[in-house]
Amino acid sequence: MIGIEWYLGVSAVLFIIGVIGVLTRGNAIIIFMCVELMLSAVNITLVAFSSFMGDVHGMILVFFVLCVAAAEACVGLAIIIAIFRNNITADINKINLLRW
């Protein structure tokens, strides 16, 4: 039997991989995928706690997180397309019009 600590550990590792991706990559789409990675890492934690405690509320929270992630991906990709159309780049280091 695998204890809950192992699930929490794997989830922490996945979350940190997502953080490293967001901080180091320059491509906007990769950054979006890394945000999805972090969301799914937190979902693993929620499902693990929910399943080990016998409480269904954690899984319902995961359901809502999935919905919000879908909405976020939809709007975010539309923003990326709009930026690409005006600026012809998906590299966030070159989008510096508002930078001080």
């Binding site: 039997m1 695998i2 204890g3 809950i4 600590e5 192992w6 699930y7 794997v10 922490a12 590792v13 996945l14 979350f15 940190i16 991989i17 997502g18 953080v19 490293i20 901080l23 180091t24 990559r25 491509n27 789409i29 990769i30 995928m33 999805e36 990675l37 799914s40 979902n43 693993i44 499902v47 693990a48 929910s50 399943s51 080990f52 016998g54 409480d55 269904v56 509320h57 899984m59 319902i60 995961v62 359901f63 809502f64 999935l66 919905c67 919000v68 992630a69 879908a70 909405a71 976020e72 991906a73 939809c74 709007v75 990709l77 539309a78 923003i79 397309i81 690409f84 005006n86 998906a90």
Partner: protein, 172 residues
């Protein structure tokens, strides 16, 4: 058998996540992300959350990642010149910070497990069924469920408005 499955799934999840971050080609990255989502669905099955496993495959691997792939094809992105260029000061700092946070998280999960509330030793089978989730979702959480519908509608309308061709909306 369960331990073997857990080790296999977690290796797959971490490996595909790393490959997703490292890989140069954006399309490869998205396909690794699909594989990662499948392995997360494997975690859910291991934890007896069948409904969420199916939803994960349908929504994430089926819908969201296809959207990502469409956008990648639409933008026709070239490969990044280099993932890690020379030794960059900013990247070094972010690596160090991320590793510090990882060490903290692992320390907490390893040492403070006794602080957690009453846990059974193993996943409970009757929690993650469609029946249990649907029962709770349509009674206690009915209002958030309806609000989610409004959120998704607003997101779709907003995305269509943002991505439409005419960029001179303000002029008229």
């Amino acid at each position: 058998m369960e331990t073997f499955f857990f080790v296999f799934i977690s290796t797959l999840a971490i490996g595909t996540a790393l490959a997703m971050v490292i890989s140069k080609n954006t399309v490869n990255s998205a396909l690794f992300m699909v594989l990662h989502m499948l392995s997360v669905a494997g975690f859910y099955t291991l934890l007896n959350a069948q409904f969420l496993a199916v939803i994960q495959i349908l929504v994430y691997a089926g819908a969201i990642m296809v959207l990502f792939l469409f956008v990648i094809m639409l933008l026709n992105l070239d490969e990044d010149e280099k993932v890690v260029s020379k030794i960059d000061f900013k990247q070094l700092i972010s690596f160090t910070l991320a590793l510090v946070v990882l060490a903290q998280l692992l320390y907490i999960t390893g040492n403070y497990a006794g602080v957690l509330p009453e846990l059974t030793g193993e996943p409970i089978a009757a929690v993650g069924t469609v029946e249990a989730i649907g029962d709770e979702l349509f009674t206690t959480f009915l209002l958030p469920f309806e609000v989610t519908a409004i959120l998704l509608t607003a997101a779709v309308v907003g995305a269509m408005l943002l991505a439409q061709k005419t960029s001179n909306v303000i002029d008229e």
